[in-house]
């Protein structure tokens, strides 16, 4: 029983981690403010839900469909982003949540206000998914997304995104094709957000319009900022800490959102780069500890290494 509960929590954390790591591609590497990751998550979840519940697609077939539809929506946002400066873009992405939620509510294809329910459980052969299987698939998806993101950091494309973040005009002057790269970052980031949706829909077995939208987008961006924007370890840490918070604070569930808001504000006020952001206090402490304890305990899961490799950039 409690093992089941733990598995459910872990699947939720894996979904949040996929969302935070994928958001990091456009918001962290390319530096484009994006408060619409919840909407892309929703688009992926909705297409996966409709296709499997109403059209009989298998879970495995809905995965590419969810990535493609969310990625397509990201393409649209990416194209819009080319015309807008930072703050205009931030507000436009906020607005996108409301437009997408309105679409879920009013387009009959998406099931209207009740949403889509009775989404069939995925299966392999004759074996139907249990929570453990969802966890395994979720972790596999997370590894793929994190691996892709890690790989991206080592490619020319990833380096070019960092250059765009620092100075768009200078990046263009060095020959980086800014427009297609920005759009590419949006497509990749939102497509992977859609992937999280493909897992979410059968896991919850129902999707409703209000499960996605602005507050979900805020939670995802908050996780990324909390953990440290621009750093994969930060995205993971943020998703785990803020995602587990509601569970940890269950006994004071009345104060859940209050705690969430307060922790977020305190973090951004006193440690704006986040938990594992470049040159954060936690990271410095960790590297001190790891240096002192190196002989006895080994380095603590490479968190210091990630920060160090990104430090000079």
């Amino acid at each position: 029983m409690s093992l089941d509960y733990l598995e459910v929590v872990l699947v939720t954390l894996a979904i949040y981690a996929i969302l935070a790591v994928s958001l990091n591609i456009v918001a962290g590497y390319a530096g484009q403010p994006n408060l619409a990751q919840g909407a892309f998550f929703g688009i992926g979840a909705y297409f996966a839900a409709v296709l499997s519940a109403h059209y009989g697609w298998s879970f495995w077939a809905t995965i590419p469909a969810a990535i493609a539809t969310a990625g397509l929506a990201g393409l649209v946002l990416g194209a819009i982003s080319l015309r807008l400066r930072e703050d205009f873009l931030a507000v436009t992405t906020i607005g996108l949540n409301f437009v997408v939620v309105a679409m879920f509510q009013y387009v009959p294809f998406f099931g209207g206000a009740v949403g889509v329910y009775a989404i069939p459980l995925p299966s392999i052969g004759s074996h139907q998914f249990g929570d453990g299987d969802f966890l395994a698939v979720g972790l596999a998806m997370l590894s793929v997304v994190a691996g892709l993101s890690l790989y991206l950091e080592r490619t020319w494309f990833g380096a070019a995104l960092l250059a765009i973040k620092d100075d768009e005009a200078a990046a263009a002057a060095t020959g980086i094709p800014v427009a297609p790269y920005k759009i590419g970052a949006f497509v990749l980031s939102s497509g992977l957000g859609g992937l999280a949706g493909a897992l979410y829909a059968p896991f919850l077995s129902a999707v409703t319009p209000t499960s996605f939208g602005f507050s979900e987008s805020v939670v995802i961006l908050a996780m990324l900022m909390f953990g440290g924007i621009g750093v994969i370890a930060g995205a993971l840490a943020g998703a785990i800490v803020l995602g587990a918070l509601p569970e940890v604070f269950r006994f004071i569930s009345d104060y859940r959102l209050l705690t969430f808001g307060a922790i977020l504000v305190l973090m951004l006020r006193f440690q704006p780069q986040g938990l594992f952001g470049i040159d954060s206090a936690a990271l410095r402490a960790l590297s001190r500890v790891s240096q002192r304890w190196a002989g006895r305990h080994g380095p603590p899961h490479g968190a210091g290494k990630v920060g160090a490799s990104r430090g000079p950039a």
Binding site: A27, P33, I80, R83, L84, R85, E86, D87, F88, A90, V91, T92, I94, G95, L96, F98, V99, V101, A102, Q105, Y106, F214, V218, L221, A222, M225, I229, D254, Y255, R256, L257, L258, F260, G261, A262, L264, V265, L268, R269, P272
Partner: protein, 291 residues
Amino acid sequence: MDLFASSVVQGIVQGSLYALIALGPSLTYGLLRILDVANAAGLALGAYVGLEAFTLTGQWWLALVAGALAGAALGWLLQRLLYRPILGRGPIVPLVAGIGVFIAAEEAFRLVFGPYNRAFPAVIPLPTLELAGTRIPGVETLSVLIGVTVFPATWLLLRRTRLGLAWRAASQDREIAQAVGINSGRVIASIFLIGYALAAIGGVLLGVTYNTVYPTMGDIPAYKMLAIIVLGGLGNPLGTILAAMLLGLLETFVVAYFGFVLPRDAIAFIALILILLVRPQGLLPGDVVVQ
């Protein structure tokens, strides 16, 4: 009943409320280049404090004054304790921090004042107008009055007062303004005091207009205020007022003539996205933002 006339009045009432709510963040953006979502917490705080004051004294004007004072106090605290220390961190950190404040504040309202809707039965003793068969209650008359005066008042504030001059100087270049003796700390504090007081007054009026006060009443104004200040041209308070009025009228007319084809709240953002695609700098280019 004349649908057109009543839509115009309702649109102006809505627009005035939007203008009150959006003016503070617009001034703040012009000055600091940050989007201050927490301003909408000032709106709900104003409504609650106003309601408490009204319940205690039965005076509608005391409700407005108490609400405005509470809002102003929140604004002052936020700029002092939160925003000023993180100014150098780019635009996203303050934006998300403000959202965090807003989330926490809504929860605090729910815990302190209760989760249910509370009535705000204040009657503002302005003459109830009859216009083309539509009755306009006192509170809406007050909103319309505010709506007609807020534009010239803001213009006067920006063009004819020392604070306005300091705002314009600091919004062009805060460091240079400081170098020539404009105390930008005091300018920031004044702008937050004014902005949050206006939002709080908007909250009291909103509560009285719909006779209800509830913890999440700042939600929709918060999102709309963002759309409005962007539509008006970021950092252009006069454009903000114009956009607020246009949006109030647009929403009222769409709802009156087309029914609820679209949720009212999506209208603002669809309009926003469409207009931004044609005019990426907003309706009126900001004084200070666009060169």
